[in-house]
């Protein structure tokens, strides 16, 4: 008796899947992955010199990120209690991660001076990445669309440029310009080798800028492209069965993207802290 019920349920599920496979898919739609990353102009503003002041989708996402961070930070700061509630406890855990887990674990000196920058970069990148996983009505071709400010190379290059400039500012202010630049080569090396090592170090400094920005950009673009393809796979294959199967897979990828958003913010902040710490305490 018990086994018969199993058979009936199994047959019903099988029949449902066959029905889904036979049913003609919905209306045909064109889908282009690259169109998801187009920078659409929301408010047209005049061009001042070489700078186009128009408000694009990316700028709107940046403003949303700033607004969320401001509101959350102000709410937490205003309602601090000695007996923390759940919300305050969660925010304190994040703050503790940024202070002890990122700055405290990789920097030797200048922790208090450089925590504001590294912590701000961490929270800004984290919130920007996470907003990218919410469908917001800024799409160009269809309305709730996925986009992230950090999936734009201009934004990530500016963030990396902040780290780059602060690194050398910190090093020059602490060690003095000449000593800072001189310490890029190990002091005990023979002359020709020393110059070569110094030159390689200069190149690696430039590549840090590229790798820091391209890593964040490529991670977010790759994640959003995979999500977009999985969400649109039903439109491409014109089949309800494949649509059902792929929606399950896309939930898994969405969860992985949440993890990636967190990890990328963590890596950006910790590499910023490593670079700044390396410029402060130069030891070869």
């Amino acid at each position: 008796m018990k086994h018969m019920w199993r058979w009936i349920i199994g047959l019903l599920v099988l029949g449902f899947l066959i029905l889904l496979a036979i049913l003609p898919g919905g209306e045909e739609m064109e889908f282009e992955v690259a169109a998801e990353f187009e920078r659409e102009v929301l408010i047209k503003l005049p061009t001042i010199g070489p700078f186009d002041m128009s408000v694009t989708k990316t700028v709107a996402y940046l403003w949303i990120a700033v607004a969320i961070i401001l509101v959350v930070a102000l709410i937490v700061a205003r309602s601090l209690k000695t007996q923390p509630g759940r919300f305050q406890y969660a925010m304190e855990a994040m703050y503790g991660l940024a202070r002890d887990g990122i700055v405290g674990s990789v920097m030797k000196s200048g922790k208090a001076a450089w925590f504001p920058f590294v912590g701000a970069a961490f929270f800004f990148v984290l919130v920007s990445n996470l907003i990218g996983l919410l469908p917001l009505p800024f799409g160009e071709h269809h309305q709730p669309a996925f986009y992230a400010a950090t999936a734009n190379l201009n934004v990530t290059i500016m963030l990396a440029l902040c780290t780059f400039l602060f690194t050398h500012y910190a090093g020059i202010r602490k060690n003095g310009a000449f000593r800072y630049v001189k310490a890029w080569a190990p002091p005990g090396a023979p002359p020709v080798l020393k110059q070569m090592i110094w030159f390689i170090h200069v190149i690696s400094e430039v590549f840090r800028l590229i790798s820091l920005s391209v890593r964040l950009f490529a991670n977010m673009v790759a994640g959003h492209a995979i999500l977009a393809v999985f969400f649109a796979m039903a439109l491409i294959f014109q089949s309800y069965l494949i649509g059902l199967a792929l929606q399950g897979a896309s939930v898994l990828i969405y969860m992985f993207e949440i993890f990636v958003a967190f990890i990328q913010a963590f890596i950006f902040a910790i590499l910023s802290a490593v670079y700044i710490g390396g410029a402060l305490d130069q030891d070869h």
Binding site: G101, S211, A218, V221, I263
Partner: protein, 80 residues
């Protein structure tokens, strides 16, 4: 095959090959690094925090290599 189709073929082939071959090295590297990190955490659980932090730094640096290949693939498809 005319020149236009040959160019398109070369672009798509190059993009696929760059991403596929570019993922091999970082994949092996990440596997070795995470395996070693887990090994050392299992050996010495008291340094787990330090090992994890350094592992994430290493992951960031290693993974960037695969992402350069991804960017090259994107440039080949959409820009070149």
């Amino acid at each position: 095959m005319d020149a236009e189709a040959a160019k398109e073929l070369g672009k798509l082939l190059g993009a696929g090959l760059s991403m596929g071959l570019g993922a091999v090295g970082p994949g092996v590297g990440l596997g070795i690094m995470i395996g070693k990190a887990l090994e050392s955490i299992a050996r010495q659980p008291e340094v787990a925090g330090d090992v994890r932090t350094n592992m994430f730094i290493g992951i960031g640096v290693t993974e960037a290599v695969a992402l350069y290949a991804f960017v090259v693939a994107l440039i080949l498809i959409f820009v070149a």
